[in-house]
Subunit: 354 residues, 4 copies
């Protein structure tokens, strides 16, 4: 259905494991326009044997292969694999992959470096501890060099991406206090995945908003791991996610205490300095409030910095599309680096509004 | 259109000034089912001369009078007036009303007791300072006795209602610190009123979320006035409102520091004790997250109390319908008290879900 | 949570079988404000043992009994039962009920009078054929007297209610042709029920519209049965339902051919004459287009009549709330008649807008 | 903000007149990724002097020029212009443009060939009758050759595009009757434009559906003009548009009478034959219902063909994105042809779902 596009001669042959969920579908949408990659394998256990058009009618025109079971996958002709499987099962699947494959894993399985933290938050021991050590945490802007050398990249969670991009540089610069960081995040519904659950039915979700997982969401330790590394000391955060009746988008409103001597202008300067040359991360103009609708469908992250009425404090706001910079877009950005392709390849689309 | 209902013999004859906006319409919806009040006057400057059915087709069956200009209003046969006019013009209109009328004002004009605070936030001197002094702030549960004796009640703002109901009792009890109160609030779109503005078009608002008025929303001083009174000392708050693509509802997620010796259980106990006998304010069970969809169309406020991962802190969540407990429902609740009617009269509906 | 309301001394003791779905919840919302009925029994197989507040947090304040399994139900103290079970199982459950109970069945099981039509559309023989014969089809305005005498009323489907209210009187009057009736209907998502299905997830449904069940929706034979009776001859219709991203509402846009000698004015006159004294069905003013948002939460049906650019044809538009007049509201309207209570009791609420 | 992309050396220098509305913004989104065009001029009367980022924050990264008034526009260095102005004013603006410019007009001003029809539906005489004669009607798939030779293309309306793509080939083939064509169309809200109107506020539009302009929408004569040409005789249609709470998308459900000897299979065959090699128009598989969410953000049109329960009739369903194939995408498709560029250039994106 989609019109032809130029493809480089020696493009990477990629597979998507778990292609029938929202992050899988979004990978395929983006890969369809990627000049350096082509889709050679799709898996989906429950949908094995089906054409992609049955699983995602909007992708009918891609000319992609039918879905198959993972056990029936042939990795011989592939260069790279995106893994969109549920956490838990992912460990074993990736451990069994041929070692010549470059892998970006979109699950949570390899994000936490400390096996004990993993076990504490996921309720079971990690089953591929060596791979866990090897995996590079793929928040691209902060770990670009390591990603470029990685064979296995753990793609960050959507909330952790929205939270760390504004916070990590400020902690690294000592511009904000490491205590009392409060992250009030609002997410669209696609973040909950495509599994049929009563709580995610249209009639349950629309026309309302609520907080969930208060004080116990699994993205909290992931955020804390990254911020601790940036700060050089253990950081604990308040992370409170909310569900908003929209398909896509995460808005993180972050309340921080200024370090001694810092002010809002210094925060802005630090962030502008850090992201000035980044193609995807943008500090918006003074007084402008980032909105998720202004990044919809794109790999961009918008960051705003605001004074607080409370003395000695400031407010940071970041906006991403949870399925793009929060998942599949960043996965391609990482894979581009791992494959020595231009980092922005396949990610050049402008946001879709309205 | 609406079926007949029993009306008490001597019901209050009421008028609604500014009946063509959302709070006006909501007042009429609720008054239609109110056994102790009847609608005798509707005004609307731009819609003067029109039948209510033209302005609000859903209210076609009320048998209400046509809209007229305020200058053409005859207050002689009225007992009470709800005023839903824009702030600024309201002062003069109310100052000119006959003194036998009981008045609930839904604008911001009489909420701030200090004329200087009013001038600072509204950019002009108050023009009815004596009335401002006389007006009772109508957060019903906290000022019930004063409201019952009032001739003029200043109905609270929607955000201030959602913020003060959980916070005021805790400050009064000394259970939380008066510093570092952070109120992250999420509102439905009807809170922006019915005026035609590009920013409130469906295509601008849907499928997205953003913060607005960061650090400078006019509900901040109103919240601070109430909390300062409760705390017995000046309180400054962070108040950060967000716009959510839904018609109705406010969710306030509030981050507080515990007072020395207090814990989350103590907070819960204080709130339960305070609201145990209230018909409209409810502390939900431990672990349950209040959702705006569970109060839609009703005068209820749900409050949840949660532990924070940050030591020494706690999280409060409150949910109201901005047009009911946040505006017209509370206005009727107040007028009921002022007219010596049962406080819950006309407000007995269960929420509408989905 | 809901404030007290006056109850008549000898109110009907009712049960709701299948109380955990949307029509069950809506029945409870409406019964909570019903002065002539009280809730004594709730069943829900999967939720048995749970408090209603866990199933429907918005109904936490009703003081209703916990849910139990049908096998554990005691019908001894009941006068009436609303049955909100899935079609198929309903037949046996109702057949086993004590005969002193008045029953309104909201499933499709007793709507079709002809066992062969039932078998053809539902793929199995009917298992309670005698009850099927006894059951009265409860489109209240058209079968009021029969309903008042019924012990078992088959509550109409949502689409058939929206379609028959405008069409039946016109066919009965011979004002429109019985051929070429095209019913293009648009429904909110709650009509699909509360079962977890991928196709009804928020992210699947929002920001889009599509037709479904084209030419084979089970409401077609129900509509045809009613229209055939009205016309006095067999009527076949085009019925094409669509799913719209909203919680509630059905809009039926109906394209008809005028009978010889009839014109649009005659159609309007016929409908006005038929529904002039009805509390819930209203022919709107010339040129006004009915909208679902103007009946949301109410038992009303709005009907508009429009000229067509195609000569000899006309357009009818009807709007209802699928959960109220299209299900639970009409069920109460019917039960009121069966219990000799005022027909509008418990159904007096104005619509909720916005 | 958007990453760099390859541009051909001699790309067309284009301007967008009226760049601050939704079709203007959508043109800019698509042109940003177009390798054969670049943006050199933007106009916007009310926003003149503003940066594009202030008008459309999602396009902040395009590096586009600031908006200016039309009177300040310099057309000297331009090759082509897209005109997104309101109907009425457009005539004079285009008449005054230098004759070297290729023009695609997205307004309604040059769509109707007959000046009397224009005057009858727009209430005023056309002021550029010669241009009206010259303009080519740009429903690309049906008028490709004429568009390729045109200097001025009148871009079709959104509804007429969705209606004519399935209907015109069937009328041309004599497969359906020219009488009794009923087009029930459902549109997203962006179709109403970006002007601030009460009726298009989020709170007015969401959670509801209604028909509008019944029997008198200005797209009716445009549809009839195209269908008459296809049929070779005057065609009158029923066209009934509805407003659906979504940003983008048009679904047209079309009810037709089969010509003598034709059946549903023949209709499908005719359409498949007509569109087999088209990059953007696709006849979906038997039994599949087109959905607007499957074309969102893309230039695709999906067409389904279904049997009707009414004997001798059939149902057609088409789905487009009103801002892409229904406006800006088709405009680029036309301009590509006019500039001898590949027809699909800049329009290769896959749809965005969810």
């Amino acid at each position: 259905m989609s019109a032809a596009k130029k493809k480089t001669a020696n493009r990477m042959r990629t597979g998507v494991l778990g292609a029938s969920g929202y992050t899988g579908g979004e990978l395929l949408r983006l890969l369809a326009g990627h000049e350096g990659m082509e889709i050679r394998l799709l898996t989906g256990e429950r949908r094995a044997g089906k054409a992609l058009a049955e699983v995602f009618p909007h992708l009918a025109g891609l000319g992609a292969p039918d879905l198959r079971r993972i056990d029936d996958a042939d990795y011989g002709g592939l260069d790279a694999v995106f893994c969109c499987l549920p956490h838990g099962t992912t460990q074993q699947v990736i451990a069994a992959l041929p070692s010549h494959l470059k892998v970006v894993d979109l699950s949570a399985d390899f994000r936490l470096k400390d096996p004990e933290t993993y076990a504490a938050w996921y309720g079971r021991a990690h089953e591929a501890v060596e791979l866990q050590r090897e995996a590079v945490y793929g928040l691209t802007e902060l770990h670009r060099d390591a990603v470029a050398r990685a064979r296995l990249t753990a793609n960050p969670g959507c909330y952790p991406t929205a939270a760390q991009l504004p916070l990590a540089p400020l902690l690294a610069a000592g511009a904000i206090a490491a205590e009392d960081i409060i992250i009030d995040a609002k997410s669209g519904v696609s973040g909950a995945g495509r599994e049929a659950k009563e709580a995610m039915l249209f009639a349950e979700v629309s026309e309302g908003v609520h907080a969930y997982g208060i004080g116990r969401h699994r993205h909290a330790p992931e955020i804390e791991q990254g911020l601790s590394a940036a700060a050089g000391s253990a950081v604990t955060v308040n992370f409170t996610p909310h569900l908003v009746p929209m398909n896509r988008g995460i808005l993180a409103t972050i309340y921080v205490r200024l370090a001694a001597g810092a002010d809002v202008a210094a925060l802005r300067e630090t962030l502008v300095g850090c992201y000035r040359d980044e193609p995807f991360v943008h500090v918006v103009a003074d007084g402008v409030a980032p909105a998720t609708r202004h990044v919809r469908g794109s790999n961009h992250c918008l960051i705003g910095v605001f004074p607080d009425r409370l003395p000695g404090r400031a407010i940071l706001v970041s906006a991403i599309d949870n399925l793009v910079k929060g998942a599949s877009g960043q996965a391609i950005q990482n894979m581009n680096l791992m494959c020595a392709l231009p980092e922005t390849m396949g990610l050049e689309q402008s946001p879709l509004f309205p």
